[in-house]
Every structure is written in C-alpha cells, then in structure tokens.
Amino acid sequence: MNATPGGADPALWLPEPWRIERVRRELSDTFTLELQPTAGGAPLRFLPGQFNMLYAFGLGEVPISISGDPEADGPLVHTIRAVGPVTEAMRRLVPGDVLGVRGPFGSCWPVSGAEAEGCDLVIVAGGVGLAPLRPAILHVLRHRQRFGQVCIFYGARTPADILYRHELRRWRGQFDLLVDVTVDRATQDWAGRVGVVPRLVEGGGYDPQHTLALVCGPEIMMRHTARALLARGVRRERIHVSMERNMKCAVGLCGHCQFGPHFVCRDGPVFRFDVIEALMTVDGL
C-alpha cells in the first residue's frame, strides 16, 4: 500500500504548502485542521488509515493520520493532539497559516477489499485513536450495504475527553449501526457506561466467526482489545491494529520507525495483529 516503494519518488520528500482553512477545537488539547493546497488543484487522494507528514516550518515534521472522508472532495482533515513541541506549535495555528504536507503514506484499513465484503465489522477506538479510524467509518457508512453488522466501540478517559462527540451521537442514532461509548471514570453527570473499552467487545453484537476488526488507540488498549476479540472467537488474522513509531523520512529509507523486521511508515501503520502480536510485548521495540 506504500505510495512509493523505497521512497524513490522525490516529490514525496518535499513538503507542499497547505493553507489552514478552518480550525476546530475538539478537546482541551485536541484540535482539527482543515487544509487546502496553496497552489490550488485537486484534493489529496488517500486511503482510510494512511497518514501525512505535517511540517511546522522551522520546528519539525510529525506523522499524523488523515481523518477526513476519503471519497469527498473537501479539505484535507487532520485531528491532532498536542503532546510536545511540534504538535503544541500546531495547536497555535489559525486560519490562513501554512503547514508543509507530505504524503499520503502507509498501509490502510482493509475496508474496501474483498476481505471485508459481507463481514461484520467491529471498529474499536480509544482516545484520539478515533481520528485514524474516522475515514474507515465514513467509507463504511457510504457503502453500508456491503457489510453485515457494524459495531463502533469507543473508549475515552472521561466524558470530557470524548472526541467527535456530535458525530458519535449521530452514528448512534442510525438503525444499522451499534455504537457504544465508555469512559474510564466519570461523575454523576454522566449517564453512560464506565469501564475500559475492551469490555465493550465482550458484549457481542457481531458474529465472531465472520468479523473483521479494526482497532486503534494506545498500544496497551489495542493489545487488550485484541485479546478480548480473540476470546470471543475472532480470528487473529482478521484483527487489524494501527501502530505508531517516531518517523523521519516516512518512505522506508531511514529506519527511524523500525519495528522488528517492519518499517511502520512503509509496512504499516495498519498491521494484521498476527503479524506483529509477538513484537508488541518486546521491551524497547
């Protein structure tokens, strides 16, 4: 799925300037940028799960998943959590400011291939992990008739940390989706579920034998969710997770993102669980 095997295409080394059209404050530390190319031209084509390298000029470049609709002609959308110098600087950007964009890179969620056709889909996201899954969800909604049951399970730290709250509410109102949200802790004003997200998987709503699972969030959350899915009878090779490692080149040349025998930028970020399961518990990888 990598855009350029071996990173040979020089165009992918050069950040293109994109102008911020709109900024949405999602959570206290999380925001969404909508971008348009300064030079005009066609929207960026990407597959659900792929990422771009975003360059805050003079500061640094970071990998960020694309979280917009892969089939719409709208702006390029990225949801970013400010955790360090580069993402903090991005949080301060306002409409009219310019970012460098390289991409798209990496593998994708297997929602458009034969593998997903007719299957039940279990989509499990934790925290900002909902952002890389959003394009897959939008794809599934657009082609709803191609899938069996579709379950979206989402976990956040507290009710105040629920990302895409309005969208989740809208999806929850659809008759052909099972959407369940849980938080790790809450106070009385929360009338929903409390508990960790792998527990939602235990509740069912899908046929494990014919399920394709997409999981994105902190690594511990993904491991435990995968185990809960396995315990329900979902097959290892039908579980997909999205990995994060620090990146530099994003085209499989520098080795910065090495994860055992894999380069996350080129072979991932979306991996089949059976391919990387053993690596996920190796210290220091």
Binding site: G129, R157, V194, P218, M221
Partner: protein, 160 residues
Amino acid sequence: MVEIAGLDRMLLEHPFFAGMAPEQAAFVAGCGRNVVVEAGAWLFREGEAADQFYLLRHGRVTLELRAPGREPLIFDTLGEGDIVGWSWLLPPFCWSMDARAQTLVRVVALDAHCLRDKLDSDPALGYALLRRFVPVMGRRLQAARLQLADLYARPQGGRG
C-alpha cells in the same frame, strides 16, 4: 413454590448461572427473590453489611467510590447479564464501595446468609459457584489494572 420455580429458570437464563445443573440452580434459587430498584436508588453503600448477591437482569448499575471534598467517582458500570458484588463471599462481609441504579434495574437478589450456608453444606455447589466467580473477578481485576494504567493520559503517547 411457583415463584421459586420461576426463579431457578431465571437463574439458568442468566449468563452467570448458564449451564449449571438444574438441581443446583433450584437449590440456589431458594435464597432468591426478584427485586426492582428505581433509577437513582442505592443497591448498597460502602461499609454496609454485604448480605445480598445480585444478578442483574435489566438496567445498569454504577459502582462508585466516595472521597471527602470530591464528587463520587464512578469507576465501573454493570449491565444486563452481569453480577453485582462478591463482598458477601469474603469476610468481613462488608461492601467496599457504593452501588447505585443508573436506570430502573431488575435483579435477582440472593440472600447471602442463606447462600453461604448452602455453599458450606454443599462443597460441590460451592466449587461450581466459585468457578463462575473467578473469571468474572479476573476480568474485573484486569479492567481495573487498565484503568490504573491511565491509558489515555497525556505525556505517554501521541494518540491516547
């Protein structure tokens, strides 16, 4: 008698007791009664005697901890098919948290004194019941560990 016959069927339909020998279920059902709890009402409070064991049939229950100067913290919710509480099994038989009905709740409440006597007098039943408890406790312990890890806390990772 009629109520008890209904209850043992209810027990066998509940995931916690599913697959249990019918005579054992009938024996346990002798300790039970159906209870409806209004939304907002307590099932039990921390420090009270743990004299009931609840099988949730309908609705949702919050498990809460109180700390001075803080709003009560909800750390878990339990729903249909779950069990509520095991403090009735372990001395000093005293609840270590609060449990409140978040919605209207229907439970089978099993009297803990009655049940403990039956488990003591029938080790096979005691073993059958403990075998059902251990996986539930294991899962909840695992979940508590994950909550303790504070998965989505800020500095640990980009995405959390």
